[in-house]
């Protein structure tokens, strides 16, 4: 899983790759720029995963179900949590061409919904070698700009050994 934004320069050589920089273990990055969750983005995401649930696209249906606005599918927070520039830091030394997603977990306080303005605060909690692979774990708190915690995510990336 690559971080967001323009595709990183994928390096097909890969032979001279260094280990992921252990100096980053324990590092917490400043909160990201506020991200405004929109109805359009939630619907686009729901369409992409093929889920026709009206709570993701119809504000009236969401209100009838007791929500202030349309809510987002449980995996939607990945859209904001990986917009983190932390993983793109060249000093970290990840070769995204060799990265696969290892594990992912979300702990929810409530569903994310249209109108939420959120920031992500990420901490690299672990980097280790497993055989020929490198494994990196990031914990992210996603909270509204008012300070309400919406969810915590735990994301493990695996950089495959050459």
């Amino acid at each position: 899983m690559a971080p967001h934004g323009p595709a990183p320069p994928f390096d097909l050589e890969g032979a001279d790759r260094m280990a992921i920089n252990r100096d980053f273990i324990g590092r917490t990055f400043p909160p990201t720029e506020p991200y405004e969750v929109s109805r359009v983005k939630i619907r686009e995401f729901a369409d992409a995963i093929g889920d026709p649930n009206p709570l993701y696209r119809d504000a009236e249906a969401a209100k009838a179900a007791g929500y202030p606005d349309v809510i987002a599918p449980p995996t939607f927070p990945i859209v904001v949590s990986l917009g983190n520039p932390a993983l793109a830091d060249p000093e970290l030394g990840i070769d995204f061409a060799m990265v696969v997603h290892g594990e992912q977990r979300f702990e929810y306080t409530r569903p994310m919904r249209a109108g939420d303005v959120v920031t992500c605060t990420s901490t690299i909690t672990d980097i280790k070698s497993i055989g020929r692979n490198e494994k990196l774990t990031v914990e992210t708190e996603i909270a509204t700009v008012e300070g309400e915690l919406i969810c915590k995510t735990y994301n493990t990336l695996v950089e495959r050994g050459a």
Binding site: A2, E44, I78
Partner: protein, 141 residues
């Protein structure tokens, strides 16, 4: 909103019937756009093969989203999911012709306090388990 399924109506071992989800390359292109994950291993076959993969593979998060949908369709309220985690144990290979089929099933693994249950999920594609340790904690009615 509250879940459609009642806590008292499920027991440890209660099974949630399997569902299948078809995945083709167009789904992955849409998911790339919606999620912002444009890693070419998810849409360019030559690139996927050059980095040692058998073919284009689905985004792990796409697979996780399908298993999530399995849970929310069962529970009736996406907001009833309080915790959801998976390990990606094998890639879902998505050939240009024919795509892939993901089969998801679930079982109540544990009943917790506060009307919460742990749903253990199984997800398979091409006779391989593609998710392990896949669990959702859901607050039932």
């Amino acid at each position: 909103m509250t879940a459609r399924v009642k806590y008292d109506d499920v027991e440890v071992g209660t099974e949630i019937p399997a569902q299948t989800y078809h995945i083709d390359r167009a789904n992955l292109v849409m998911y790339a756009g919606a999620s912002g994950d444009f890693n070419p291993i998810h849409w360019r076959e030559s690139f996927a093969k050059a980095v040692g993969l058998p073919d284009v593979i689905a985004h792990g998060m796409y697979t996780m989203a399908q298993a999530g949908r399995f849970v929310t369709d069962w529970a009736g309220d996406p907001g009833a999911v309080v915790d959801y985690g998976v390990r990606f144990s094998a890639p879902v290979v998505v050939p240009d012709e024919g795509g892939a089929t993901l089969e998801v099933s679930g079982k109540i693994e544990e009943k917790l306090e506060d009307n919460k249950v742990v749903v253990a999920l199984t997800a398979r594609a091409a006779d391989q388990k593609v998710l392990t340790r896949a669990k959702a904690v859901v607050r039932l009615a």
